[in-house]
Chain length 350, copies 4
């Protein structure tokens, strides 16, 4: 038997004893090592179960950012074996629809098979996790399991968005929203070569964290002068690239308006709406707005290769670690917002 | 002396006698042959003068879509000579700022020199026009002057937007708004290879014109079921590309929502606002929205080369032609909206 | 028992009786309907076995362009079922390496699993074929099995190359080499919108076929004046896009040199070498040369969707059909070069 | 009167007294401050006059990398005024052909007007230079005149090539040829974010210079094991990007072969030939080869903006400075190859 954490709603966390699963065809059993909490877990499950039907939380073990070590493989595995250290891409698709074939299991169109870890199938908040081999990303020895957990959802999502808009030394970058996704954006933009990184948030603790971790060159408090402030910091020109990690309407408009002629904006933050005036905001300055959702398995593998090359450790954004027995405390803290990333850890990662 | 048409506001047109100008350094004098009316002339000048300061109408001869024949060149001209048939790129920039050097005189940053024909310097609604050589586009013999007038603003603007999003046989295209810009979009998409063209408008005459000219395969009346209609016409998938030529908030949202996963939308229509929900509308389907403004002189030259290759005649969208003496009637008709493109013509073009 | 055709070398074909295989986990059994012969079968297997080691022909049933109908599925299949009509992507990769995850099983890096149909695992020249579900592409009712066989290798490869360089109505296209790959290039360029298609070959029968099928607007005999000829046909400018399907050094140089300033060239033809002078040939004209190999499973699916939309039938390039019993005649004819595409067909396709 | 240096051939340099020119319409007179020597000056003019006709050296004052200060403007100048510090884009085109309108005066198609400074019109090796306003790039106070001279040709050319292939932190970059262009490539790749820079050359002094200036992380002596060496330095994968600055056939093949799957190679070095085997060298690894020539005026302006942002000083590559009176020594040294960049300087730059 093993323990697993469930989120019945109403801002509660429950631990239950369940049998350790057995890997079937093409499956592996992982000993969990690190499982981080995503903002969407809080927003859509912890407080109340927002999603309905197949998109909703199915009363499974929580945790969609899992990283661990294979202890057993089922028949038919072709690449991974026992003792391999692995990240779990957080949505298990059918593997054979067009979206899955592109590597974007996030948008698997096979309703009978698409199941997100921690939402529709058991996730990482347990001693062991059953995963499909096709969902695994090899974790190099140079990265820790906590690094890997960060890649499973957040860093992967950010990397995809940054690849869509292209980031290098030519670019000053604006990040609206400095939660875990915004901080990951700062960390990756730095390594991709961005020459200036400006962050905006409303929570003083987050602003301070961005400064303390050196992930932003400038941090602004959210407010009506933000566009003007960003222009002032960029010689009057605005940023070449902007990344919205806030999902806030006003912040999204700021991201658009503070972007320079011919610049690009990508929306990563989930939920909410946006409103703007196309002529002055994007037409006259020839700007482009990208929507970007999660990433592909193959780009996640590329990211992991780059993290090693860059000596970048996503776990540096983890501010608090808890044992599985204290999973409830982990969710409570994450829900408070007074933290960076929160992780449930095991063994050597604790 | 020559006659020129002015737009004092209050939906009136006035003809005045003025001296024929003399070309100076780097300038040419054109005998006007065709001068078409743009929707922005009606919206921003004819009814009332909306623009203020240097962006506003400066009580000059109207007409920013001019096409004619050079009758005299000033000193220093390097490429064009008398008898050349030419289109006039409709904004004369300084020629040496960064935007002008890219060919985008539309966004010339030199406030002392940027002057749009028909807005801040005399335009094409006159017997003769004084233009700078750098603003000229060669008009091949295979195209008429009325074809050329259409290129000066509308077709050039559309071509730029279509080049930004890329159009070929892989694409079903949605066009929201079937005024002259929307019709030009249909004509160009057809030649670029679009496999299906769907148009949406609210005015029955425009819908009929799009059908009669064969520029749309399907024409829908604007309404709440448009997204569903477009999906039905595209096997449930939506269009790969959408072009907003309406500047209408609801139509823009339709353009976004009726676009397929990984698709691209470009906004060409000027004015108004847009509002949407990023998660379902662009993030989860990995869509991209482009703002696009006018075009460059060099891309306008490419367009002209292509028009000849395609045997495409933009003047086919001109439904009514008037002599300069009847310029007032031309503006009245254009303001009514019950027409395609309206042109003031001279000599063999009348 | 069933019959299968083997290629022992020395330009011979042998039929053998073998057991009908049984689909295992994730596998399907196909009733073969059409199996076309690729130039590489002749070049690398039929005359003599050129490839060595894991890349070489492993004395299996030949045919790497198979298309058929599922008669039985093994356990674990998630998308396809009995009676489905399917194309087989011609290389079965491991499915979980980075290349496979991008959909490019052609370059699967798992030497233990990568096996091309008809080269290292039994192919389509038999009554039945055992395939992995992950290698299947759905064949819509609007396409025939012979259409599908053409997609499995040739049309898929061409589509990938054309997507890399981008083809639309802006482009005159040069095709060097009018074998089956060159003809497929003409057919797809036509549907993508190319405004002029020029072909070059050395074999009169092929030149005539390109003309008869309407796949080229102009066909030139290979010779030293080709660059000049192409420029003459394009108003002195050269083509905007060129596709080498010849693998011939001189033809590749022609493709490069006949391409216009800022143009793009893609190399599809396999083998041989190329030599050119970078300054005049690509640097001063800002040209780009793309290498392109086969395609991904997901782009092959897109191609199939487009074929239906375009009402394009790749089987129109099939000039000769043989029953399996006459497979030897099929290979002999294909080796002679005096044909278009040659197919071994079954049942309703014969 | 003023002095100017001429290159009559036979590896000689001659100083002559000529009148100070007077700026006409659209022209400016510069007080020269720095004028660097390009490899092409040595290869095509200094030793013997290789170019013929309008492309050849026309017995004018040498120097096509000029930077100075405006002392007088002719009539009609719109942007620049006396005392402005300026770089001269090194080819003066007609300004109104399609290439000039894109900003690429390097490929101006107007044979009557295209004249390179130092080749067909007087260049920077004199006390004063007459230039057209449209050829000028503003030099910010943060950059020296020697920095500016470096931008006029070499750094501009490199930046264009790097923008074509895209460089950021995802990329290990190989540079073949560590002359001034190769060193500029290293300097710009560093600022764009490249995570590893490997250089190859044959001259020990150049290899040492690349190391001393910190422009390469690894420097290899040219040799048959280069491809293997580069793969070893990149975890067996090869570089994501390669830049040929050598114009050497073997080095170009190395650049292609040492590049990773899906990678991009750009050729900048002028002259010579290249030979390779498309199937293994570019087709099977889906690689792309770009030709790139000089740059546009507008991208040169962007580069200057970036240099300030990056605090990057191109003049750091200048190893030797001479007064105009010693121009002969400057050319002799540059011809020896035992140096970095060589400059003729004036006033505060000496």
């Amino acid at each position: 038997m093993m323990k697993g954490a469930y989120l019945p709603g109403n801002s509660t966390t429950v631990l239950r004893e369940v049998p350790v699963p057995e890997p079937g065809q093409g499956e592996v059993l992982l000993r969990m090592k690190a499982s981080t909490i995503c903002g969407s877990d809080i927003r859509c499950i912890y407080h109340e179960h927002l999603g309905k039907g197949p998109e909703g939380y199915q009363d499974v073990i929580a945790g969609h950012e899992p990283c661990g070590q294979i202890v057993k493989t089922g028949p038919g595995c072709r690449r991974f074996t026992a003792r391999d250290r692995v990240i779990v891409y957080h949505i298990s698709g059918c593997g054979v629809c067009n979206d899955c074939r592109r590597g974007y299991m996030i948008s698997c169109t096979s309703t009978g098979y698409r199941r997100a870890y921690g939402w529709q199938r058991d996730g990482g908040m347990a001693d062991f996790l059953l995963a499909e081999e096709k969902d695994l990303i090899h974790l190099p020895d140079d990265l820790t399991y906590a690094d890997g957990a960060q890649v499973a959802c957040g860093f992967g999502t950010v990397y995809e968005g940054l690849e869509k808009i292209g980031i290098n030394g030519n670019h000053a970058v604006l990040i609206t929203g400095l939660g875990p996704v915004g901080l990951a954006t700062g960390a990756l933009c730095r390594k991709l070569g961005a020459s200036l990184i400006i962050g905006i948030d409303i929570v003083p603790e987050r602003m301070q964290l961005a400064r303390d971790l050196g992930l932003c060159d400038e941090v602004l408090a959210s407010g009506p002068s933000n566009v003007e402030d960003v222009r002032r910091l960029t010689g009057g020109r605005g940023v070449e690239r902007a990344v919205d990690c806030s999902a806030n309407d006003a912040a999204r408009a700021t991201a658009i308006r503070a972007t320079r002629k011919w610049g690009r904006i990508v929306f990563l933050g989930e939920g909410g709406r946006v409103e703007f005036n196309p002529s002055p905001d994007i037409i006259h300055d020839q700007k482009t707005i990208y929507g970007s959702w999660v990433t592909s398995t193959w780009l996640m593998e590329e990211l992991v290769e780059r993290l090693v090359r860059w000596n970048l450790h996503p776990a540096d954004l983890v501010t608090h670690r808890f044992a599985l027995d204290r999973a409830a405390d982990a969710y409570t803290l994450m829900a408070s917002g007074k933290c960076g990333k929160v992780a449930v850890c095991f063994d050597e990662e604790l």
